[in-house]
Amino acid sequence: MMRMIRKTGAVLRLIAMFNKELLMSSVTVLREVLRPRLNIRPGIIKLDTELRSDFEITLLSILICLTPGTLTLDVSGDGKTLYIHAMDINDPDELAAQIKGSFERAIMEVTR
């Protein structure tokens, strides 16, 4: 029972966080698009994930994709690494850490 409640909480947290990310980065991307001169630094970064099951990886990828500004480009053959195309990279490591810290954590809370 407790577990159920905990899970539900985790799911709700995930959704809330996602919505926040969605709105915020949407605004960012839309601003970039509307700017007369492009001022972006795109690129592909590597993200080593601790998630293992197909479902987890898929969920993470989808969330990354849904969030404006990032796009899951591929998953390595062993499923341990995600390659992410990002629209504006200030610091690649920071970006990776941010994703890990937010989405990956939240997902793990839901699935484990």
Binding site: D54, I57, T58, T72, V75
Partner: protein, 957 residues
């Protein structure tokens, strides 16, 4: 059915029996089986003479196609009796002759006698018919049996050539005659010959009278080898000699004469008839006789002689028709004498020419050649044959006291008389007739002498021959001997025939113009005193002998007048030309290019529709009552047009496919805008599945070449495409502007739920109101899937070298994605597939009331399967989903069918549906409509079809 019918039918029966008899008794010469038949018929016909002589007719009828005015009606009058006797009489003699002429061990005799019996029956039918169409039937049959007989030795090129030529000419004439008969029917309302003769008065008034006459004459002239249609007869001499004697001199070629005589009462009295018949006859007479002199082959000589003699008879019939200008007067009999001459000469010719052919056949048979340049001096070794030839030839030359002399005298008389005719410009041109005829008679005299003396007298040169010549066996000599004796008899006792045959025949030809109580009294006398005719004959003899003597020395006599113009050559050239023109023309437009064919079709469409539109003033633009256009709709139209126009510019396959898909989506949007949700759904799914199919089928093709074509090619294509588009638009505008009726849609709206129990009207129409359409439409899908399956799987061995036409074959690129990780797709797809499958069932089930239905549901399910296949590979799917989709299709169709078939038991119309609310245990109240069951069939079929197609292609290596 009468005895006359038997006369006609028996030969055909014999034709059937001959092969059997031949099998049973192979040792007996087949000729013996059939010989009794003509003899019996001859006797039978002879026995009819007395009653015919008394002016009565024997007739019988047998209905065939009475509604079309065609009956197998037969009758015997003087004319047909005369011909019948000829056919039976000469037929008997020829048959006897052929038994000795044709070697049992070397020839396929059963074929020969079958053909001959066919011919004989046809000939009897021709002269005994009382119905023009039946006459026509037998007429063609004589041509055909002649065709077969000429080609009896079919390995010979010349035989085949001659056979075809004779058929071409005579069948063409036959067709003209057929048209003429049809015209006569249109004018008179009957095909009955005797009935026709009764309608004569009003016939001549008809505007098509002359046309009909000329058409009938075309038939007569071709059959009777009149100039310029005579060309087939010399080549027909490739036939075995009995055939030449029988068909090509005595009987078949006289069919034209018969026809002219038979229809003379209809047409005579008309200037065109008079001129055509007598003019063409005379022309033929002189041409044939002139050409005969030039021949070195005995049979060719006889052929031209036959042509010439037929011309003579023809011209006499023509001159006899002048009598019709004086019906009911004494002049009538005066001119009718020409007809008497014609009949008399017809008999004479049959007799002497038959004898001559047989004699020549004997010469050929015994010496192995018919070339007079190799022959000579046969008199000593073949005295009987010589005698026969001499008698026949003298009769032909018109030397007294033979029959030929008498008929020629009568001929001269007719020629001199015709000048007295005050009609038809005869007074002006009639004087030419005797001159022409006299010249021709000279030639005739000359070639008759040639025939006899070149062959039988002079220096013997047996060393040039293949065999050592000797007299023929008795059986072969008897028939010509009989004929030769007839030659003598008819000369000495001409009136032997007068009352028995000639008078009745005259009566048949000239039955209208006589004065009351008057009848033909034919009396032929040997001596008329020293009249013009006799002087003419003496002249003929003198000049003719001179030519005979000159013939060896003076080249101008023996060489053709000119080498350049030859009618037979013209036939060959014409045939070649026709083949050439046909070939050139056909190959010109039948290029094998589908593009060309389409261009013809579209051009025709644009021209015909455009022209009609213009002529009919059909264009009407009536914007009243049209729906308004909002801005976004205009934008959507723009998007559709844009994506459509972009396709031809696409430079990759995928691009072209994508743009087409795009246009499809825009069409979907239109369906939404115009409130057709079911359509939109269907279009969407179909479009997507189609795109998938396109990708499936075209993945291995080389890069789409930019169409390397000249500009004109494109411009031309564009021009045609645009004009078709323009025409379609114009019609659309005019049609929507000129709607005159309300559609029947209100009925569907009112009754869809009330009577058919469904709220989705489109679906109700599909499964109920027009459920039959739908049933067939799933059949179409099913067939397509079976076709595709067979197309891909079945590989029949071909004998040709099985290598592709083209250039580069298939290229497989190494793609970079072979090893990529599909974890995301696979995970999501599992969910999606389950969702979509459930949704598809929902769509299917709700279809009767909401949008959806069997199709949409089925297609949706197939889309799910497609996704599954994309993500997991085809083979795996095949392992998991153990369904034979081809059978699923069949099951679907079967279900749809069976819901309809219940109607047979309930005795209601096919596919009638019922619906109702049933209380089903556990499920509670449930609406159950048989229409839903029908739709289930549709649903399953669609899944089966789509899956069959996808997986068949997907698994093709």
């Amino acid at each position: 059915m009468s005895v006359i019918h038997f006369v006609i039918i028996l030969p055909f029966l014999f034709a059937l029996i001959v092969p059997i008899a031949n099998k049973i008794l192979p040792k007996v010469h087949t000729g013996w089986f059939v010989l009794p038949l003509p003899i019996a018929i001859f006797v039978l016909l002879l026995s009819m003479i007395p009653s015919i002589e008394n002016g009565s007719e024997i007739s019988g009828s047998l209905p065939w196609i009475p509604s079309l005015g065609i009956g197998f009606d037969v009758y015997v009058d003087g004319l047909s009796l005369l011909f019948g006797l000829l056919i039976a009489g000469i037929g008997s003699l020829v048959l006897l002759y052929s038994i000795y002429y044709l070697d049992k061990s070397k020839e396929k005799l059963s074929y020969f006698y079958v053909y001959l019996m066919l011919f004989m029956g046809a000939m009897f039918g021709l002269v005994l018919s009382d119905n023009l169409m039946v006459l026509y039937a037998f007429w063609e049959l004589t041509s055909i049996s002649s065709f077969l007989l000429i080609a009896f030795w079919d390995r010979r090129e010349r035989s085949r050539y001659g056979a075809l030529k004779s058929m071409v000419v005579t069948v063409c004439g036959g067709l003209a005659m057929f048209a003429g008969f049809a015209l006569l029917y249109v004018m008179s309302g009957t095909f009955g010959i005797r009935e026709l003769l009764e309608t004569i008065p009003q016939l001549a008034e008809h505007k098509l009278f002359i046309t009909a006459m000329l058409l009938v004459l075309a038939g007569a002239f071709t059959k009777s080898a009149q100039f310029p249609f005579h060309i087939w007869l010399p080549d027909a001499m490739e036939a075995p000699t009995p055939v030449s004697a029988y068909l090509h001199s005595a009987t078949m070629v006289k069919a034209g004469i018969y026809l002219v005589a038979r229809l003379s009462p209809v047409f005579s009295g008309h200037a065109v008839w008079l001129w055509m018949v007598s003019g063409v006859g005379l022309l033929t007479l002189i041409y044939g006789s002139y050409r005969a002199i030039k021949q070195t082959d005995l049979k060719a000589l006889l052929a031209f002689s036959t042509i010439s003699q037929l011309g003579l008879i023809m011209s006499l019939l023509g001159m006899g028709s002048a009598a019709a200008f004086y019906p009911g007067t004494s002049q009538y009999l005066f001119f009718a004498k020409a007809t008497t001459a014609a009949i008399f000469h017809l008999i004479n010719h049959a007799v002497f020419k038959g004898a001559l052919f047989m004699a020549v056949g004997i010469v050929d048979h015994e010496t192995g050649t018919r070339d007079i340049r190799k022959l000579g001096g046969l008199m000593a070794v073949m005295p009987i044959t010589f005698t026969i030839t001499l008698l026949g030839a003298f009769s032909m030359a018109g030397i007294p006291p033979f029959g030929g002399f008498l008929s020629k005298e009568m001929f001269f008389t007719a020629l001199l008389q015709i000048r007295e005719l005050s009609f038809a410009s005869m007074q002006l041109w009639g004087s030419l007739f005797p001159i022409v005829a006299w010249v021709a008679s000279v030639f005739t005299f000359a070639y008759s002498l040639l025939l006899v003396f070149r062959t039988f007298s002079g220096k013997a040169q047996f060393e040039k021959l293949e065999k050592k010549p000797h007299e023929a066996p008795l059986g072969m000599l008897i028939p010509p001997l009989v004929l030769a004796s007839l030659v003598v008899m008819f000369g000495l006792f001409p009136n032997l025939l007068s009352h028995t045959l000639i008078e009745p025949a005259m009566a048949a030809i000239h039955f209208t113009g006589l004065q009351p109580q008057e009848q033909f009294m034919v009396s032929i006398d040997m001596w008329h005193g020293w009249n013009t005719e006799l002087y003419m004959t003496i002249g003929v003899a003198i000049v003719g002998t001179a030519i005979f003597i000159l013939q060896r020395r003076a080249a101008w006599v023996s060489k053709p007048l000119t080498n350049r113009v030859s009618l037979s050559g013209a036939y060959d050239d014409g045939q070649r030309l026709l083949d050439n023109v046909a070939g050139r023309l056909t190959r010109l437009y039948m290029t094998g290019s589908v593009r060309h064919y389409l261009i013809y079709i579209f051009l025709f469409l644009v021209l015909s529709l455009g022209l009609t539109m213009w002529l009919e003033g059909a264009f009407a633009l009536n914007t009243e009552g049209m729906a308004t256009t909002s801005f976004y709709e205009a934008v959507v139209i723009g998007a559709l047009v844009l994506s459509a126009i972009a396709v031809p510019f696409a430079n990759s396959r995928l691009m072209a496919i994508i743009l087409t898909g795009m246009a499809g989506y825009m069409v979907t949007l239109f369906f939404v805008i115009f409130r057709a949700p079911d359509l939109a759904l269907t279009q969407l799914i179909v479009e997507t599945v189609s795109v998938a199919l396109f990708l499936l089928c075209f993945y291995h093709l080389p890069k789409l070449k930019k169409e390397l074509v000249r500009l004109p090619f494109k411009v031309w294509n564009l021009l045609i495409a645009a004009s078709v588009g323009a025409v379609m638009t114009l019609i659309a505008l005019s049609a929507s502007g000129s709607r005159k009726f309300e559609s029947i849609s209100d009925y569907f709206i009112e009754n869809s739920y009330k009577l058919a129990g469904g709220k989705n009207i489109v679906n109700v129409i599909l499964v109920d109101f027009r459920g039959f359409d739908t049933m067939l439409e799933i059949v179409v899908l099913g067939i397509a899937s079976y076709g595709i399956y067979a197309l891909i799987r079945l590989k029949v061995k071909e004998d040709e070298n099985d290598r592709p036409l083209g250039h580069d074959g298939m290229k497989y690129d190494v793609y970079a994605g072979i090893r990529s990780n599909d974890v995301i797709l696979r995970t999501v797809a599992k969910l999606v597939v389950v969702l979509v499958l459930i949704y598809s069932m929902y769509l299917f089930y709700m279809g009767h009331h909401h949008s959806g239905g069997g199709f949409i549901g089925g297609l949706m399910a197939s889309a799910a399967l497609l996704l599954l296949a994309i993500t997991n590979g085809v083979d795996k799917i095949a392992r998991i989903v153990r369904v034979d989709f081809k059978r699923l299709t069949a099951i679907g169709i079967l279900i749809a069918l069976l819901t309809g078939t219940g109607s047979f038991l309930a005795n209601v119309p096919f596919l009638s549906h019922t619906f109702g609310y049933f209380d089903i245990p556990l499920l509670g109240e449930l609406e159950l409509a048989t229409a839903t069951l029908f739709d289930l069939g549709v649903y399953l079929t669609v899944i089966g079809v789509a899956s069959t197609i996808l997986f068949t292609i997907g698994r093709d290596k």
